[in-house]
């Protein structure tokens, strides 16, 4: 009987330890995109989309010809161009003499 109690005690401790160590691992596996304020798993695609939107919107003039995106993402994340800047900073002349801007 004492041996059974001893064995049950060891099993209980081992089970508790296993549960305690498995919980964070399970949480990691379950929520690769982090947790929401409500405690549920965040939507990974939604988090990636919002992060990229914020970065691109916060850098509207980082690069005209090579925005920090994969080429396939250009259409979904583009910020409208500043036409006035293109005309003022880069000149815009038509061959044959027709010109725009200052």
């Amino acid at each position: 009987m004492p041996a059974l109690k001893h064995a049950l005690g060891i099993a209980a401790i081992a089970g508790t330890l296993a549960f305690a160590t498995a919980l964070p691992a399970a949480a990691q596996a379950a929520c690769p995109a982090g947790r929401t304020l409500a405690g549920t798993c965040a939507n990974a695609a939604q988090m990636d989309d919002l992060r990229l939107t914020t970065i691109i919107f916060a850098q509207p003039k980082i690069s005209f010809s090579a925005p920090p995106l994969l080429p396939q993402q250009d259409g979904d994340y583009s910020v409208p161009r500043d036409r006035g800047e293109v005309w003022a900073n880069h000149h815009y002349h038509r061959p044959g003499g027709f010109a725009f801007g200052p």
Binding site: G34, A42, L70, P71, Q72, D82, A88, G96
Partner: protein, 417 residues
Amino acid sequence: MQKTRHRNIVRLALPVILGLGASSAALAQQVGDKSWTITPSTEFRLFTWESTRRFPTTGVVTRERGTQTNIPFAIQLKGQPSTDFKFDVTARTGFTTSSISNAGASSSYAGTTDTSLSGTANYLGFAGFQPFLSLALNLPTGRSNLKSSANSKGDSDLVMLPVFGEGFNIGPTIGVNVPINENWAGSFGVGYTNRGTFDREGPALGIPPTQKLNPGDVLTGTASLSYRGQQLSLKASIAYSTESTTRLDNVDYYKSGDRVVLQLAAGYGFTENWSAKAQASFSHFAANKIQNAFGLPPISTEAFNSNSNLFKINGGVTYAANGYSIGPVVGFLYRDRNGYDPTTFQFVSAKKSWTAGLAASYQPTSMIQLSARVEHLWAFEDSGPDKAPFGIPIPGSAPPSVRTNGWQASASGLIKF
């Protein structure tokens, strides 16, 4: 002085991004590469157009023809070495050609574009609060001083690339994602873009032949709200930017007015096979500060707003099955006339453009995605009356109406390892 500054910035910024990339790769090896992806991707883009200009008071008609190709390619390393940290590093560059002929004259350009290097680090350990830090660089590998090719730039409202090169730009962004629950989330950020000086060709007469332009730095705050349900997804974003003064040959040139950009995006899945998505953008600038009538500083707020508001919408319907997807795509752009009187030289008339075409993609495996798209473009820009400085009309000075027809096509490939 400027080169020293660039070198110092490169010394500071490059190790950050390269370090991020190296540590990401090292972490990838430690974790066994399971949670890391490397994605090379490229796209071939073609835009060809013909514009007819009709000068209203003289009856003269001119035709412009142009073709532009652009081949961007990029590689992205993305991964999550632990539950709490996520990183990505992206490098992108490209090659472009552009040729335009108008009224018997022509101009062409072929060369590399600028190169961007960017990296983002995210912390996911807090529930409902995910801060991130990003750094983007524009390396001046394209050409900003086009010399005899200066006239090969196309209309920025229509062409893929209106500019082939700028200076060394560095753009840090700090932001936070706020996942509220399974459906709703927000995101907030602040970015600063420090833009470096570049050389450009001089005015049309070539005096001086080269000018040094130091574009204004940009400070932007942005916020987004997103909803994702079973079938419906929505996103609304706003950004507010303010710029410092742009200088030309070390003299104050102009200062862009503050800018607001609004964007709405929506997607809806009707069935397992059918879906639709649309995106609408609006951009407004306040009046600029400009040099006086003799082209001299100091700069002061212009009498009327020389900027136009821009409204843009595009969308499409997609049918997808067995790794294939195909569907029609449409787009519309409206740029309103600016605030000046049509008889002044600062007046810019309104413009509309429409696009319609077909987009398709094929995903033979989960690693590979191939896409293609072809669209026709129609654009129209209003004419105006003769200019009348001091109330005296100048015969024949009226700007022409411009009618443009064009085709744009692209084909792209992406592989995830």
